[in-house]
Structure formats: structure tokens, C-alpha cells
């Protein structure tokens, strides 16, 4: 995976200076959070459902090999084909192979983060097949040649003026004087253009929110209906999903559905929850003639049994990023990988390596808001800390940090030395700061004083004062 996570600092600086992005992020800050709150408060069983959803996923992960086998048997029984891919490249080639065998020229796609993860579109294009994203947000970012900046709102970083400019640039066959000033007109234009694409498409590719072992069913959860048109109209439907999407039963899926949309968009349920089992049946008037499932590992099997297993419970609702103070400032693209925000800070190092993605788990205040809203109870800060530990063990963290930490920890382990050192340091700081009560600049503390003053100490340390009081008494 080509990632710009090593440039997180530069990316985020640019993002914070981008007025369009900052305007767009304002909608995340208000809309998502308030809507989630209302939806959660409206369901008294929400917390019990979270526990239930977590337990289901934990159970499934502990028996994943067996549920995969059961799922596969049911898909085959329904006339579908199951393909396994160990790596992103394997998945790309498998999908390209199916498209080529079908003689496909265009494929329509429902929204799939895994397809972004394996950079499927580039691969199809390089081989003469045109992929068309049909989720409105995905369509917009495809026109711009950008990756998504949010799990469920891929174009959340854009303003409507930017979308209008892109539509005018690309849809040149339409009258130049048409009105595109409102979201409604933008949507109508995209709907009309994409409707033709759906009807002409040879292959439809979707992701899956769940793969049900009980029935061999793939499930997609959408609001627009584009995923349904992608899997319903073309001759061939390919489902691309990773191993941890397996869920045992319809009942288990129902538990997780009750927390998914509420956490993400704040809806009680998304508009379309579609269960697909195999290809068109005898006598069916519509539906795909072929049904393929590509099951991808891409590093997930190694996360099982590790410190990062809990991450495999993630259902991609986006609540963690919506509520993250860092994500709210820097947006999704700053993270430099397909997965952004707290969930990306845990998942990206697993997929791309901590040597490349080291900034991501570090760029967190550990405020814990992500974990507090995660419908699957994923301990995101804890796992970010685990990545920091890996980084520290492998000596990847900056030398100055390691050195400073080492000296400080040594001193802190020796209380007498600590008292002496802090007394001297604080005494000195006080001497220079007592007149104003604060510092505008302090040597070696530029990170602090670039943007804020450093309050001066009150004078002596607490332990000095206490010792004085004891002596006096």
C-alpha cells in the first residue's frame, strides 16, 4: 500500500491551513456527533447491544477458521463461488481475472473500503477496464483522483463549491449554464449520469458489511441504493471482503445492525440492508448470473491472537473519527492511508508497518472519546499505546525522546536525586518567571511556547515546602 503516513506532520499542517477543509470539517463536528447522541439516547438497550455485539465478534474471531469453512460451504451450495486471496495483489488479480473472463469493459462499484485498501481501481484501469464508483461521495473523489477521507462519508472534506467545480470540469457534455449551486442539483446530475452507467455495466463489485456463515449470505448496508444497483444489474457480481466480516447467524447480524447505523450516521437503521445469497435462481426475472466472493486476508490472520486482535471487531461505522479531536482538526487525508482517525491509527500500522505509520498512533491525546463511542468496545487508545511500545522496542522513536525519557525515568526512580534535581530546576525557572508569572519562550520547550505561554512555578516545590513546614512544626 502506497501511503503518505510518514508525512503526517506536513499533511496535517496543510490541512489545518486549508479553508475548504476546515469549513467541511465543521459539519463533522456538529452533525455526526449530535445525530449519534440522539439515536443512542433513543434506544435504552444500546449499551447492552454493544456488549452483545462485542461478544458475538469475539466468539466469531475465536472460531474464525470454522465459520469461514461453514460460510464457504453455504455459498457454494447456493451456486456462488468463493475465492481466497492472501495479499492485496492476489485479490486484485483474482478480480481482474473474473472481469477479463467476462469480457468486461466497465464495472460499477458499491462503496468498499477494502477495494480502496487494495487499490483495485488503478489495477483495473491499467488493464483496460473502467471502474466507476457509484456512491455519491466515492464518485466525487474518484473524479478528483483522491482517496476517501472518512469511512462512511468519503467526500466529507469537500465543500459543495468544490464538487460543483469538479462536475463542470468532467461533465462537459452538459450545458455550461446549468445551475449547480445547490446539493440537490449536484445530486440530480450525478444520479442521471450514474443511472446510465449502471445499466451499461458488465460487472458489479461491492464490499460486504457481513458474511453470514449460517446462510452463505453477503450483506451490504447503504443509504443511496447504489450498492444494490451495482450488485443487481450487471451479469456478474463480485463481493470483496476481508476474513473478519464473517458473522455466524442472522440473529448475530441483527444485533450488530442495531449499533452500526446509530453509531455512524445516527440513523436507527440505514435505508438499505441487503442480503444476497448466490446468483439469480431459476425463474428469477433479474439479478446477476454469476456470484463471486473474494475473501481477503492481507495481514488480518496475523492480528488474531496478538495485541491487535480486538481491532478485527471493527465494523467501520466511523464514530471514532467523528469524535476524535485530532481527526476533526486534520481530516482524513492527513493520515496518509485509506484508514484514518483512531481506527486507522491502529489498523494502518498493522497493514503498512509501524516504521511507516509511526506517527498515527502517536498523534493522539489519548482522550479516550473514540473508545467511549465505539459500538464494538474496541480499546483504541490501548492499542495505539501498544504500537508506541513496538516502536520503542524497535528503537524507532526519536533519539531525543528516548534519551530524555531515560534520564527522567532514572531520576524519578531515585527520590532523593529527584527532589534535588526538581528543586534546582524549579528554583531556576521561578527566578526567571516570577515577575510575569509565565514565560513566552523557554529554551528546549519551543513545542509548548510556540503557541502558548508556560505558566511559571509558584516558587518552591511541594516537597520543599512540606519539609519546611515539618521543620517549623
Amino acid at each position: 500500500m502506497e501511503i503518505t503516513s510518514p508525512q503526517f506532520k506536513q499533511n496535517s499542517r496543510r490541512a489545518m491551513q486549508d479553508p475548504n477543509l476546515q469549513k467541511a470539517m465543521g459539519y463533522v463536528r456538529t452533525g455526526f456527533i449530535e445525530r449519534r447522541r440522539i439515536a443512542v439516547e433513543g434506544l435504552p438497550e444500546f449499551d447492552r447491544l454493544r456488549d452483545s455485539a462485542r461478544d458475538i465478534k469475539n466468539h466469531t474471531l475465536a472460531h474464525l477458521d470454522l465459520y469461514l469453512e461453514a460460510y464457504e460451504t453455504k455459498v457454494r451450495g447456493a451456486g456462488g463461488e468463493v475465492h481466497y486471496a492472501e495479499t492485496a495483489a492476489d485479490a486484485r488479480d483474482l478480480i481482474l481475472g473474473i472481469c477479463q473472463r467476462t469480457g468486461a469493459r466497465t464495472v460499477t462499484k458499491g462503496k468498499s473500503m477494502v477495494s480502496e485498501e487494495i487499490e483495485l481501481n488503478d489495477h483495473l484501469e491499467a488493464n483496460g477496464i473502467q471502474p466507476i464508483e457509484t456512491d455519491l461521495g466515492e464518485y466525487i473523489i474518484q473524479l478528483r483522483g483522491e482517496p476517501p477521507s472518512h469511512l462512511i462519508a468519503p467526500a466529507v472534506h469537500l465543500t459543495k463549491e468544490q464538487v460543483e467545480a469538479d462536475f463542470r470540469r468532467v461533465h462537459t457534455h452538459l450545458p455550461a449554464d446549468r445551475d449547480l449551486s445547490e446539493p440537490t442539483t449536484l445530486l440530480a446530475e450525478a444520479r442521471a449520469i450514474l443511472r446510465e452507467r449502471f445499466l451499461a455495466s458488465d460487472v458489479g463489485i461491492t464490499g460486504a458489511n457481513f458474511l453470514i456463515a449460517e446462510t452463505g449470505t453477503s450483506v451490504i448496508v447503504t443509504n443511496e441504493g447504489n450498492g444494490d444497483l451495482s450488485q443487481l444489474l450487471p451479469k456478474v457480481h463480485i463481493v470483496l471482503a476481508t476474513i473478519e466480516k464473517i458473522t455466524p447467524t442472522l440473529e448475530d447480524v441483527s444485533q450488530i445492525l442495531r449499533v452500526l447505523a446509530r453509531s455512524g450516521t445516527g440513523q436507527d437503521l440505514s435505508v438499505y440492508t441487503t442480503f444476497s445469497t448466490g446468483p439469480r435462481r431459476p425463474g428469477d426475472p433479474d439479478g446477476p448470473e454469476e456470484y463471486h466472493v473474494v475473501i481477503l486476508d492481507n495481514g488480518r490472520s496475523s492480528m488474531l491472537g496478538s495485541d491487535f486482535q480486538d481491532m478485527l471487531r471493527c465494523i467501520r461505522c466511523g464514530a471514532c473519527m467523528n469524535h476524535c479531536p485530532v481527526y476533526q482538526e486534520v481530516g482524513g487525508h492527513s493520515y496518509g492511508s485509506v484508514y484514518a482517525g483512531p481506527m486507522g491509527a491502529v489498523l494502518t500500522p498493522s497493514l503498512a508497518g509501524i516504521d511507516k505509520a509511526g506517527h498515527l498512533p502517536n498523534a493522539s491525546t489519548f482522550c479516550g472519546r473514540c473508545e467511549s463511542v465505539c459500538p464494538m468496545h474496541i480499546p483504541l487508545p490501548k492499542m495505539m499505546r501498544h504500537w508506541r511500545e513496538r516502536e520503542f522496542e524497535r528503537h524507532l522513536s526519536p533519539k531525543t525522546v528516548r534519551w530524555g525519557l531515560g534520564v527522567w525515568a532514572f531520576v524519578a526512580r531515585h527520590p532523593r536525586l529527584y527532589r534535588l534535581a526538581t528543586k534546582l530546576a524549579i528554583g531556576t525557572l521561578y527566578k526567571f518567571g516570577k515577575l510575569k508569572g509565565r514565560f513566552r519562550r523557554v529554551p528546549f520547550a519551543g513545542g509548548w511556547t510556540r503557541h502558548r505561554d508556560l505558566p511559571a512555578p509558584q516558587g518552591k516545590t511541594f516537597h520543599e515546602l512540606l519539609a519546611e513546614r515539618k521543620r517549623a512544626a
Partner: protein
């Protein structure tokens, strides 16, 4: 609450590094509040730091070394109280995790952690304090520090006690549960992002019209006070313990007397 000498619980006060170094008045306010709540307060001389900076930097070895020292220094008390949600959270929740795979220390860490409390919630929940005999003329607003709020569930306790302070008006801060951008070493590792977050916070603080900002964690307070001062704001910042103890003679954070 009891004043019976026989039943006076012995509390070890974990002063925290920042209080020790930058704001001893919070330590003395804590002692006063604990004594008023019928406790005997002791400050073990061997305490230094809970190890949180090392822990959050991925340095488990040094963290464990510091944790063992802290446990040894405090495990003899009935309770261990810290005037910080973040340090108390470290002692209470993360120590057991740190020693989970260490048979020699796991049980000891667990026993120790069960005794740890953050100051204000200890007064409220354990000592049953519902009001304090303090007075503070002015309007204050309260910021919920993240660790206290989400790790320890501290929300109502400080508000209840503040409402009992004579002449004090409490006005709520919008998005009080949103991080101030301090995050320990985060604020120096990613200063620009930290700044963007704290700017949003100080905007809301100023919008409340309160004259004083209160919180239960000195790290967050130094961040917000530092930003308010840089913005030349007149809003003063104090640790909530100073107001509850009626010890507001010393200048506010970042001010001169």
C-alpha cells in the same frame, strides 16, 4: 462521614509531578479537603512520578520500575488519593494492566489499585461530602479532563461540590467533554494540532463569560491557561481543589500576585 478518631482512614496523598513542581498550593488544598473530610493525610517521602509519560511513550520497562516504587510507597495506606484524574487513572486502571503477566506483582498491583481515587470523587463518593465550607465570589466554568471523565466517571461530583461554594456561580462549558489538546507529550510532539484543539477550547471558555476556569488536572489547566494568557484573555485558571478548599489567595495559574 465520621469524625471518630478511631475510624479515621489513613490517606496517602499522591501529589503528582506537576503539582509538586508547578503548583504546590493544590497539594495543600488537597490536604485541607481530605482532613476536613475526616481523613488522616500522609505524604510518603519516596513518591515521585506515576510513570505515565513513559507508559504513553511505549516504555514499559521504565514504567514498571516506577510503578513498583509507587506501589511500595503507598500500599500501606487505606486509600491513595491524587488531585488528578489522569494520574489516578494511571494508578487505578493501568497499573494492574502493566503487571497482568507478572505473577510476583499482579496481585499486589490489583490490591493497590483498588485503594486509588481521584481527589474530588473520593470526597464525594467515598467520604460522602456533599458541601464544602468555602466561598468564592465569581462565575466559574468547569472543564472535564478526559481521564477523569472517561476512565473514572467523574462528572457530577465536582459540579455538586462547586454548587455548594458560597457566592459561586457555575456556568456550563459547551463541549466540556472534548479534549483540551494537552495529551501529555502530545502537545509538544504535535504542537500545531494541539494548538488548534486548545484554541477551540479557549474560544468556548471565553464564550461562557466566566471569570475563572476550573478543572481537576494541572496538565490540562497549564495548557488552557497558557493559551488563555497568550491570547491576553482575562480568564483566570485554577485547580478545582483550590476553590473547594477556599484557598484562592495565591495567584491563579500563570498570573502574578
Amino acid at each position: 462521614m465520621t469524625n471518630d478518631k478511631e475510624e479515621k482512614p489513613r490517606v496517602g496523598l499522591f501529589v503528582t509531578c506537576l503539582v509538586d513542581l508547578f503548583r504546590p498550593s493544590v497539594g495543600f488544598a488537597s490536604i485541607k479537603l481530605l482532613e476536613e473530610a475526616g481523613c488522616t493525610v500522609d505524604i510518603p517521602d519516596l513518591q515521585t512520578c506515576c510513570g505515565q509519560p513513559a507508559y504513553n511513550s511505549g516504555d514499559r520497562r521504565d514504567t514498571r520500575a516506577l510503578a513498583r516504587k509507587a506501589i511500595a510507597a503507598f500500599e500501606g495506606f487505606d486509600y491513595v488519593v491524587a488531585p488528578s484524574g489522569s494520574c489516578a487513572g494511571m494508578l487505578k486502571l493501568h497499573y494492574p494492566e502493566l503487571f497482568a503477566d507478572d505473577p510476583a506483582w499482579a496481585e499486589r498491583a490489583k490490591k493497590f489499585s483498588a485503594k486509588v481515587f481521584e481527589l474530588v470523587s473520593f470526597l464525594s463518593d467515598i467520604r460522602g461530602v456533599t458541601s464544602v465550607p468555602a466561598s468564592f465570589a465569581g462565575t466559574v466554568t468547569y472543564h472535564d479532563s478526559c481521564s477523569g471523565l472517561r476512565e473514572l466517571g467523574i462528572r457530577e461530583q465536582p459540579r455538586t461540590l462547586l454548587r455548594s461554594v458560597d457566592k459561586l456561580t457555575l456556568t456550563e462549558l459547551k463541549d466540556a467533554d472534548l479534549c483540551c489538546g494537552f495529551g501529555g507529550t502530545f502537545c509538544v510532539k504535535y504542537p500545531d494540532i494541539s494548538n488548534a484543539i486548545v484554541e477551540r477550547k479557549t474560544t468556548e471558555i471565553v464564550a461562557t463569560g466566566a471569570g475563572t476556569l476550573l478543572a481537576g488536572d494541572l496538565g490540562c489547566l497549564m495548557n488552557m491557561a497558557g493559551k488563555l494568557k497568550r491570547q491576553k484573555s482575562m480568564v483566570k485558571s485554577r485547580h478545582v481543589a483550590e476553590v473547594l478548599a477556599g484557598m484562592t489567595d495565591s495567584p491563579a495559574i500563570g498570573e502574578v500576585g
